[in-house]
């Protein structure tokens, strides 16, 4: 995640950033992305469903999508001039058949 173009932000899913003091709250920031699985991956996962267990293609796809949602949230936060996001939560919903929305939200704050 921490590559060029990615805002350097402190992120936590607790009320505060551990070891820091929040000086200002800048508001709610959100990031979302909708991803669809491709047909070939679907067929592959369908075959894996015969024996059950982990479906690696979906694991990777959702992990990538969630990273993108988080990146968008981080960009929104850095647009507000924040240096940290606290109380981050995630939500996933199936908007259409075969497509999933990954959504991340949190509160953009300024910390010392």
């Amino acid at each position: 995640m921490q590559t060029g173009g990615v805002p350097q932000l402190m992120i936590s899913n607790t009320e505060t950033i551990p070891g820091r003091t929040i000086t200002a709250t800048l508001g709610l920031v959100t990031g979302s992305t909708v991803r669809a699985k491709n047909v070939f991956k679907d067929i592959g996962a369908g075959f894996k469903n015969v024996v059950g267990g982990e479906l690696t293609t979906y694991t990777n796809l959702l992990s990538e999508a969630r990273n993108e949602a988080m990146l968008r949230m981080m960009q929104a936060a850095s647009g507000l001039g924040a240096n940290a996001i606290v109380n981050v939560r995630f939500a996933t919903s199936a908007v259409a058949g075969g497509a999933a929305e990954l959504f991340a939200y949190g509160t953009a704050v300024l910390v010392q």
Binding site: N13, A45, E54, T59, L62, S63, S93, A94
Partner: protein
């Protein structure tokens, strides 16, 4: 020449057993035999990794569901850690589920699938914590999302994603203060 009757019987056998096996219960039989063994092996592997991780953290579980750590140590800094796993039940388990839905009650076959998913997601979070070198992961949350919807009766696919996240924190070491 002597082989001809045996060959005939063989062909007859293949043609009577083969198509029903391939188009009938064959995949289901495969799903029952291989799927159960495969899932059991994976669960045992996860359990072994759990033990290894706990030992790496000094015999304790680094994950906590609370915001504070009640050990008297001071948290210095931390950041978000995430882990996910997508899992699906086998055809055999889906069949058992659809049969069980006729009379209702507990569906034991799916218990194992979800138990594996949750433990695997939490174990991945522990391993990420280990790789990052954090001391504790606080405020751990688990999310479950249905990513492939099972449409009932004859539907042969189903998948859920289990997502675990928490804040990995470092605590002040006694040497830091001295």
């Amino acid at each position: 020449m002597a082989d001809e009757p045996t060959l005939g019987i063989l062909y007859a056998l293949v043609w009577t057993i083969g198509p029903p096996l391939i188009f009938g219960g064959g995949p289901l039989l495969f799903s029952w035999l291989v799927g159960n063994a495969y899932q059991k092996r994976k669960l045992n592997e996860t359990a072994a990794r759990e033990q290894a991780s706990m030992q790496a953290f000094g015999g304790r579980d680094p994950l906590t569901n609370t915001v504070n750590i009640y050990t008297g140590e001071t948290i210095t800094h931390g950041h978000l850690l995430t882990a996910n796993v997508s899992i699906g039940p086998s055809w055999w388990q889906l069949l058992r589920t659809s049969l069980k839905q006729l009379i209702g009650g507990r569906i034991y076959s799916l218990d194992n699938v979800l138990e594996f998913g949750r433990r695997e997601a939490l174990q991945r979070l522990r391993e990420i914590a280990q790789a990052e070198g954090v001391d504790y992961v606080i405020n751990v949350r688990l999310d479950t999302a249905e990513i492939v919807t099972n449409k009932g009766r004859n539907s042969k696919t189903a998948a859920v994603e289990i997502f675990a996240y928490g804040t990995g924190v470092y605590v002040a070491k006694p040497t830091d203060e001295a």
